[in-house]
Subunit: 139 residues, 2 copies
DNA sequence: CCGGATCCGTTTCGATACTG
DNA sequence: CAGTATCGAAACGGATCCGG
């Protein structure tokens, strides 16, 4: 139980490490595509509604790889193709994304289907476990 | 329970609304200061370790106010002083910040005290309720 | 002192065109 | 398909100034 007489100080709650990695407009969108969209190639990411520029995408993929959040793999069936895949560190971002999506659905005008949001909130832990299962089985 | 046969599609999980508001390096640091640090004035925010520039801080405070995440108030005791305070929409960001802090503590090198992180994870809901209580009583 | 606003040199971003 | 190269626009940072 949090001690209300000695609440956490700012210095006890370092956000900088997270923000240095994904404190920008694009990085988490790529993670979302991998986590929810079943999209895993450069071309797939470009198809997102938000229309990321090619150079920005390439740079963000490099940074995500350097941070150990995504891994690059040659497609098993088509050796020319490159697939990106979340690492364990990457799938661990699921709670962050879920909370951001839920917050926006509550306070902003988003196109999130109420059923999905309901599932994310009421069955939050199961929902996240499901994402992780799907990630694990998708290998 | 999430349906693994029909997982949420990317388009069902809009992150853009959130990222448009706080998808940058500075905005959430101000929110953190208000939420965890007991810091609520312009001068307080400047004192943070991350050394935000004065013009950047002023612009972010305006944006946060325009988004309905913070409110401006004259200090009751010292009429010259201005205090910022989270709105309900602002305190609702607590789960997002907590997940970001927990993720970074797990995967990056941060200075977060293990006791606080343990509390954030094991007693997550109580921890967030405590933050909200403190916010409510601090009015 | 406090809460900014303004100016300015530097860095980063991002749209488009182009390439192996 | 998966990126680079280019180049103008925007953001950043640091310093300074200013009204209350």
């Amino acid at each position: 139980m949090p001690n209300l007489k000695l609440p956490p100080r700012r210095s006890d709650c370092p956000l900088n490490a997270s923000l240095e990695i994904f404190g920008d407009r694009w990085t988490l969108l790529v993670v979302r595509d991998l986590m929810f969209g079943g999209r895993c190639s450069y071309r797939d990411f470009l198809k997102a509604d938000e229309k990321i520029a090619t150079n920005i995408l390439a740079e963000r993929l490099h940074r995500l790889e350097a941070s150990g959040i995504v891994e690059k793999h040659r497609d098993v069936e088509d050796g020319r193709k490159i697939n990106y895949r979340l690492t364990e560190k990457g799938i661990d971002l699921a709670p962050v994304l879920v909370e951001m999506i839920v917050w926006a659905a509550r306070h902003e005008d988003t196109a999130a289907p109420p059923a999905v949001i309901h599932d994310m909130t009421v069955n939050r832990d199961t929902f996240i476990a499901g994402l992780r299962d799907r990630w694990k089985s998708g290998r």
